[in-house]
Amino acid sequence: MLGKALSRWTLAWFASAMAFLLAALAMATFGLAGPGRWSEGWALAAVHLFALGWLCQMMLGSLIQFVPVLTARPLILPRLALPALILCGAGTLSLAGGFLALDGWPTGVLLAAGPVLLGLAFGLAMLMLGGTLVATRAWRTQDGSTVLLALLALPVLWVTGAGMGWAFGGIAWGAALLPDGLSLHVLLGAGFWLTLAAMGVSYRLFPMFLIAPDGSSPWRRAALIAAALALALLLAALGVLLAGGDPLPLAVACGLACAFAAGLYLGEIRRIWQSRRAPAPETNMQWSRAALAFLALAALLVAPALILGGPWAEAAVFVALAGWLSTLTLAQMVKITSFLTWIQVFAPLIGRAPVPMVHDLTDARAAGRSLALWVAGVLVGAAALAAQVPALFDIAALVLLLAALLHGHELIAIRRLRHLSETARPAGLPPMILPPSDRRTDHDIPRPASA
């Protein structure tokens, strides 16, 4: 069957993630989150809509598409993609609603239910992704083992998050995680799960996008070893914390190992960039450089953030989540959406009729404008957190919201083939978000525009 390696639900994951991104940014724009207020209910809700709803869903949706590329075999149990998406969305909403109990809302039950739903979602995702990686012995490759290490961090992230959430319901071991376990939870989410997954996928995708030699390298091996050491240090810090000790020395050592791994990763990406054959890197790669710069900044801020906390920690986490991970995600989202749309519409025409190039589906200037606005918003937001100026953070959130709306507009234009001339546009278009319902043909035949 043609397109058997393609996930049918990637665009639904993306659309859901974009909705959560807009919701989180709208909440921040209205002043519900900001410097020094991150332990309030509304702020925690906004943070989790951003981290779980936006970033985590984007990563899971992307992995469901790219693990088959990494392993060169279709995903096992692909039918779990939709239930995982529904559970992840419901769990994120439940958790966000539950945090409002901290502000006096009667939503405590949601705080208990959210982690259960998220645990089920992560479990289904682990079955599909981890199962495929293990079945293909992906640990033998450096990109596969990096993604596997990321997936190993996911259940630990869940345990720390669920423990802290349930601590409000009186779970003793969860209470032991507060407040010092928070930094470990953030490190697990931003530093291990999301960053390692992004690293593993980019090892394969960046050479493809840049037409550069692919394969193993000493940089990748060293980064993987440093990351594995960092994860071991984090688990040790978690053990010390649960045993009633001070986890800070181990957490700082973990942070330094993370920063070292990030430095090695950046060295590897520099090597790939310099060996590229693509004469002019496209928008997704041009703006990924801004994301990589934010990764370098976040790596530099890890140790001060862990030791000094306060504005240092707030700025570091913001740079990691909004700067590094979100800029990378938004930049690559343009390419992935164009590519998937091209496959749905034009791939069946290869060899039969003239077809446009994948990059013809994108308006590089429009995508570049929204990404530039996003980067500007991140810089202003990071400055606002470092200087602890709430009004400036509200402005940054508004800029980010506008950037996300513009980016969403461009993504819709890509899906509707609006950048193609009338003659190059086919009569039928695939559905905007949902997969084609005709199981006979899957992605093979475009459906009428009204579908």
Binding site: K4, V69, R73, P213, W342, A347, I350, R352
Partner: protein, 96 residues
Amino acid sequence: MADLHDLVRDRLRTVLDPETGRDLVAMGMIYAIEVDGGHVRVDMTTTTRGCPLADFLRLGVETALQSLEGVASVDVRLVWEPAWTPDRMEPVRAGA
């Protein structure tokens, strides 16, 4: 009359890689062309083994060759050894 092998190669130059805009021959993705009477066999690859376009490209090549005069049957195989590298690409000609 041109040799069928050359005609096949010329026809493959009309099938483009949608990422780079270069044809499959220029991309170095055509590993072998064998012609036996009217039967044509092509060994081709993609830039990475898990490429989601692999089957579409294989079918596209098959379709492009089937309409070629003198071709009775076409057998296109995806092969992964040796792995594709950018060194296989033809140099970009000035003005191309």
